[in-house]
Every structure is written in C-alpha cells, then in structure tokens.
C-alpha cells in the first residue's frame, strides 16, 4: 500500500516536472530564493554548503555570473564576513549555511550583529519538513536557538512562502534599527516547484513600525534646552552611520558649536581631525569626554545606547545634566539612563529639524576645556605611547605610522582586546564606515573574517585588519578564504605574547596573578606562507615603518606580525564600577 502510494507520488512529481517545462513560472524554491536575493540587489553571498542546503547550492551553480559566492572555512567566518560587508557597504550582508552544526556555528555572529545592529539575512538549510522533531541527521531547532539573537526569524516549509518571506527578511533586516534575520528553509521547500509570480519588495508589515512620525514638540523642547545650554555636549554612536546621517550630524554640531565625542561604533562618522571631534567615550576612551560628561549641563545623545562601557557607574553618570536622547528604537529611551527628553525617530529626519531649530553658537570656552584635557592626556599618556623611548615597540606607534601611510583613508578592522582599544584610540578616520569592530559583544576572532567581508563590500578601499595574537588564532582558518578568493587585505598582528586585556586586568585588579593569559603563537609567517599569503615579522623600530609601507604597497593580501611590548597597558581607563569622572591616566 505504502509502496503504491510512493509510486503515485513519484508519478505526480514527474507530471509536475513535465508541466513545469511548459510553464516558465514554475521554479524550485531554491531558484526563487536566489531570484529574490538578486531582486534585493544582493551580489555577494558568504557561505558554506552542506547536506540540508544542497538544493540551494545546486541552483547557485547556474547563478555564478549574478551572485558571487565566497566560500569560507567555517560558518562563523561567513557571518563575520557578512558583518564586515554590511558595515563597509551599508547594505545587507547575506549568509548561506547548512542545518545543524552549520546553523549553530552562526550563533556568535548573530549575537554580535544583533547587539551591534548589523543588517544581515542568514539562510540556513533544514531537514525535510516531515523529519522536523525526529532528531534527524543534522537537525537542530535553529529557530528556537536563534530567537534571542535575531531581530526576526522564520522557518519556511513550503516553497510558496519563499518570495514573501525573503522580502520581509530584507525589509526587517535593514529598516528601523537594523539587525540580523534568519530564515530556515526545509529541504523539501528548496526542492519544491511552485508558480513563482515574481518578487515584490516589502515595505510594510502592519505589526512593525520602524519609522515613527517625529513629533515637533520634542524637537522644539530639545532646541530650547540646547539654546539655553552653556556647556552642551554631544555623544554619538553608530546610529549616525546606520541612519546615513553623517552630513546632517555635521551640520547640527557645526551650527550649535557643539563638542562631540563618539562611542566605539560611532567612530569615523565624524572625521577624526574635525575641530569639534573631542574623541572617544568609554572605558578606554579619551580623558576629556569622560570627565566632562559629568560637567556638561546638556548631554545630547544621538544614535547610541548608553552601554555600560560608556557610562561607567550609572548612578554617578551625568547627574547634573539635562539629557536629550535621539534614537530610532523606543526601547532604548530610558533603558539605562533616564532622559529629560526622548526624541524617537530616524536621526536622518530629526537632526535637520533640530538643526533648524537651534541658534548658531560657538561655545569657545567650553570647547577649549576639552582641549585642555586633551593636552593633559597627551602629556601623560599619548605622547609616550606614540613616541616610546624604550626598545620595545608599542601598539600606539604602529597605528601612528599606519595613519601616516594611509593618511586615514583606510578601513580599519579590529578584533577585541588591547590592540582594539589602542587602534580605536589612535587611528585616523577621514570618512564614514571606516571603523569596523565588534563593539557590543566583544567577539575575539571577528576581525579576520570581517576584514575579508569589508573588502568585498568596498573593493576600492584599502582594508587593514589589526588583530591580537589571541584573536587571530580563533579564526585563523580564514586564511584559506583569502587564499582561494585572492582578496586583498592587510593583516597586522600586534603580538604581545599575552591575552593582553585580561592580563592588564589581572595585573591591576588580581595582584598580577596571570592566570592562563600566557598564550603561545605559531610562526605566523610560516602559517601565512602555507596559505600563499605574503608575510613578514617585525621586531625592531628601525624596520617598522618600511615594513608597513611594504605591506600597503603589496599587491594582494599581506600579513605583518609586529612584536610589541609584552606588558603594556591601555590607559586612560575607567575601572569597572567607577564613575566616568574617576578615569585613571595610569
């Protein structure tokens, strides 16, 4: 009986295939998926094939010209690369991975993209729908595993759903506050033929309101407060970049004469050498912005979320100031810091409204105060970091020479740890979308794959990845991706032979009890050579600048391992649990 049914089924399928030849609209779910991606303007996909996503890869075989697929060495590499791509291009990053382990390998990247608001669409294969819940081979409950780390996710078990769901996925990923979306497609839906009626982009989901109407009342109230302010201070985050509002932001701060400091993800939204750019906030940010947060009378937060690394101790954070918070995500307003006025909206819209409502001013005295603090920071920290007198190289001087050679035009991708803080503190940025780092999640291993993706997202630009000796070993397999794709990125390993940031904390707070921070490295030059990547190791100051120049001149990827001082610390520092004004210079 069952066998008979099966034969009938097969016959039905044959009939379906035959009729599909007559009907050109009849395509497989896989083809519909790829057509949908193309309709969304996707040109690059980062992925790794496997059993449950084979029909999609089979369809991809015929789309070689329209879709560039980058074969990574691990799914985590794929998703970080897609993040780098999204951050350098401003477009949605797309990832393909198979079911089970393929999907679970995406989790770190999803969490990273979720907390850093990076628009991604991840497609995972899934076992046949009739096998769901049977502990089938490479089956995992991807939807439930990824729910806390996605903006939205959905499981497709019928090909007819594909065009509409993919349209929703792209719309949700990039609209409002962006984020990662995961679509799980069961194998039967990938194979299933259906009548593909074409692709319509989604621009409205009734339960989803990414773009609020800006209420003039709040703009007016904010402008009034700003106009009355004696010591106004702007702190801005990635929202300015995500909202593509760099020009609007510049107009705003220039009209108001407002000193502005960025969060780590806000870096590069405002050119480093703009006179109103007073530096970076946060635990290892600049001295002035941290101290003066507790001295300003009006704090204007734009597209940032008051992370604990920015605020330090909350009950001592900017208590004296009236706080205005511009954000597109209403759940951010009042979440960590109680605000005087919350302006809910897209800063691309709210900033021009605010600019036209504020008076033209120059807070010369107040801005000078930031420069006074900067001088103090230069004298006690920065000068020595950039111009060391000992033989040991410092991370800071590497970045100083890099600035000189790239002139601040490169995209700088950093991993997580001391090198990240030093690079973000000293790197020069002339244009937006030039700083790519794992901010919220602090994912070691992020930089190498993200740099690869960043290059695909902005092929005309130089991409420099600065990575520690810990982080590089977490995703070092992506050398293989560099080798196979021939992508041109410059990799600087700042090797201090320690897991430096943890070691710094152990030195400062755990009586120098160095517990498992002493990490050994392979011979990176040899490893790179094995992957046919040009490489060099630098140990002395005399060869540093030339080697950096050589790296930048090299056609194709290049790895430069630089040995730096083993026990250097990053300062200034706001110790955990302290107020921002208790920032330490040593």
């Amino acid at each position: 009986m069952q066998a008979e049914e099966k034969i009938i089924e097969i016959k039905k399928e044959q009939i379906a295939t035959e009729s599909s030849l007559q009907n050109l609209n009849e395509v497989s779910g896989s083809v519909a998926l790829l057509e949908s991606c193309i309709a969304e303007g996707v040109k690059t996909i980062f992925g790794y094939p496997g059993g449950a996503i084979m029909p999609i890869y089979d369809a991809l075989y015929d789309y070689n010209e329209k879709l560039k697929h980058i074969l990574v060495r691990h799914e985590q590499g794929a998703i970080h690369a897609a993040q780098g791509f999204a951050r350098s291009s401003g477009n949605v990053g797309v990832v393909f991975a198979t079911s089970g382990p393929g999907a679970t390998n995406l989790i770190t990247g999803l969490a990273d993209a979720h907390i850093d608001s990076t628009p991604l669409v991840c497609i995972t294969g899934q076992v046949y729908a009739h096998l769901l819940g049977t502990d089938a081979f490479q089956e995992t409950d991807v939807i439930n595993i990824t729910t806390p780390v996605t903006k939205w996710n959905y499981q497709i078990t019928d090909a007819n759903e594909i065009p509409e769901v993919i349209a929703k996925a792209f719309y949700i990923a990039k609209s409002g506050r962006p984020g990662p979306v995961l679509i799980d497609i069961s194998k039967n839906a990938q194979i299933q033929k259906f009548n593909f009626k074409g692709y319509t982009k989604c621009n409205h989901i009734r339960s989803y309101r990414p773009k609020p109407i800006v209420r003039k009342k709040y703009i007016e109230q904010s402008a009034e407060i700003i106009n009355r302010a004696q010591k106004p201070f702007v702190i801005f985050g990635q929202g300015v970049i995500l909202g593509k509002a760099e020009k609007e932001f510049l107009a705003f701060i220039e009209k108001g004469g407002l000193p502005s400091a960025c969060t780590i993800l806000g870096l590069s939204a405002l050119p480093t050498d703009h006179p109103l750019n007073v530096g970076m906030l946060g635990m290892h940010g600049n001295y002035g912005p941290n101290v003066l947060t507790n001295e300003c009378d009006v704090l204007i937060a734009i597209g940032m979320r008051f992370d604990d690394r920015v605020t330090g101790r909350l009950d001592k954070y900017a208590k004296q100031a009236k706080i205005i918070h511009l954000d597109i995500d209403p759940s951010e307003i009042d979440k960590n810091v109680k605000v005087t006025i919350g302006v809910w909206g897209d800063c691309k819209e709210t900033l021009p409204m605010l600019t036209s409502a504020i008076e033209t001013k120059k807070h010369t005295e107040w801005v000078r105060k930031f420069y006074d603090f900067k001088k103090e920071e230069v004298d006690s920290v920065i000068y020595n970091e950039l111009n060391p007198t000992s033989d040991e190289l410092t991370m800071g001087e590497v970045i100083k020479y890099l600035n000189e050679l790239t002139n601040g035009d490169a995209i700088v991708v950093t991993d997580v740890g001391q090198h990240q803080m030093v690079t973000c503190r000293y790197a020069k940025f002339n244009s937006s979308k030039s700083n790519i780092t794992s901010g919220g999640l602090g994912t070691m291993g992020f930089a190498l794959p993200a740099a690869i993706g960043a290059k695909f997202g902005a092929e005309e630009r130089t991409v420099v990845a600065v990575i520690g000796d810990g982080g590089i070993q977490m995703t070092i397999q992506e050398f293989g991706t560099i080798m196979q794709t021939g992508v041109d990125i410059k990799i600087i390993i700042l090797n201090n032979q320690f897991l430096g940031m943890v070691r710094q904390w152990q030195q400062l707070f755990n009586d120098k009890r160095y517990s498992f921070v002493n990490i050994e490295s392979p011979d990176y030059v040899q490893v790179a050579k094995g992957y046919r990547i040009a490489a060099k190791k630098v140990e002395s100051r005399s060869e540093l600048k030339n080697s950096l120049q050589e790296m930048l001149n090299h056609k194709g990827s290049y790895l430069l391992e630089i040995m730096v001082g083993k026990e250097n610390n990053v300062f200034p520092m706001v110790p955990q649990g302290c107020s921002v004004s208790e920032i330490r210079l040593k």
Partner: protein, 196 residues
C-alpha cells in the same frame, strides 16, 4: 519603587514562535511569570496575550517596550489590578461519596459560586471562577476532602479604560507612518500613560 502585581496585555499577530520570543524577554531577565494566557481577541486574526508578573513599574514598562519591539507584536499594555476586571477559573475533582457524606453541597454552591460540571457515581467535578483569593477559599474547603485533581487557569483580564483594538488596528494597517500606533507621548507623561 515597590513591586506590584501587573497584568500585561499584548496584541499580536498569530505566529508560530512568537510565544517563545515573548517568554524569553522575561526569562532572560530572570523574571518569574505568574500566569500566561494566549487567546483570540476582539479583532479577527489578532491574538491576545495576558501575562501576570510581580515587578516594579519601571521594570514592567521596560519589559513592555521590549515586547513591543518584536516584529509581530502590535501593542503591549500594562495595568495594575484596579485598572482591570479579571477572572481565573479553577476545577476540582473530588470523590462523590465523600462529598455526599461530608459536605453540604448546596452551601458550597451558593457560598463560593461553585458549579457542579459533572456528577458521576465515582467522582464530581466542581468549577469556580473569580479572583485568586476566592478560588483559594473554595480550595481550602475542598482540600481536606482529598482532591483527586485540581487545576487553575491563567488570568484573563479586560482593561477598564480600553476601547478595544479595532480602531488602533486600522492605524496599524495604514502604510504611511501615522500617529496613533506610535505612542511616544509616554516620553513626557510617563506616569499617566500605560502603553509604551
């Protein structure tokens, strides 16, 4: 701020997985959900969650914002107990012999608003609806008789001041951004407005 019992009402699309998305907003913050009910609402195809938690108003407000942030959630409201009309339902299975012998059934039915749903030779099922304290009273009477089974439902609640979701849904269905569903009014009168 002191903790109170808050009833959260969430209007949502009917979507698989949304229950989990909402549940983890609580579990991630280690907040205990006292009761949770999902049902249809006054509007066709719109689902209604009723969630009871014991928390401070600030926490509840933040939770509601996180809930509303979910793509398939239309609106989330929170109310204190005096702002709602609410009911819970309980059912008791007891031995008919014991009941017949020891309890004045008539008094039970009158005094506690209980109803007998099933009466069989071997067992009787009583049912009552009301606030938790009312149900607790009946439980106290029946417990000594040996409950074969006892079950109590989640809370369902009507918001006294609500005009229902019909009008609001129409606003949501407009493609242009419109004022009504976007309640950032809360920003300047936080103590009066109960939605986010």
């Amino acid at each position: 701020m002191s903790k109170l019992e808050y009833t959260i009402t969430v209007y949502t699309e009917n979507q698989i997985g949304l229950l989990n998305r909402i549940a983890i907003i609580f579990s991630r913050r280690k907040i205990n959900v006292i009761s949770l009910n999902t049902s249809s609402s006054e509007v066709e195809n719109v689902h209604r969650f009723t969630i009871v938690i014991h928390e401070t108003e600030e926490v509840v407000r933040k939770l509601c914002r996180q809930i509303e942030k979910q793509v398939e959630v239309l609106s989330a409201y929170f109310n204190t107990e005096d702002e709602i009309v609410w009911q819970e339902l309980a059912m008791y299975k007891v031995s008919t012999d014991v009941i017949a012998e020891k309890v004045k059934v008539e008094r039970l039915l009158r005094e506690y608003g209980a109803r007998a749903v099933v009466i069989r030779k071997d067992y009787t099922v009583f049912e009552t609806t009301g606030h938790r304290e009312e149900i607790d009273k009946l439980t106290k009477v029946l417990e000594p008789l040996g409950l074969i089974e006892f079950v109590r439902s989640a809370r369902v609640a009507i918001i006294k001041a609500s005009e229902g979701f019909h009008q609001r849904l129409k606003e949501f269905e407009k493609t242009d951004p419109s004022e009504t569903p976007i309640e950032n009014e809360f920003l300047d009168k936080q103590d009066e407005v109960f939605t986010m």
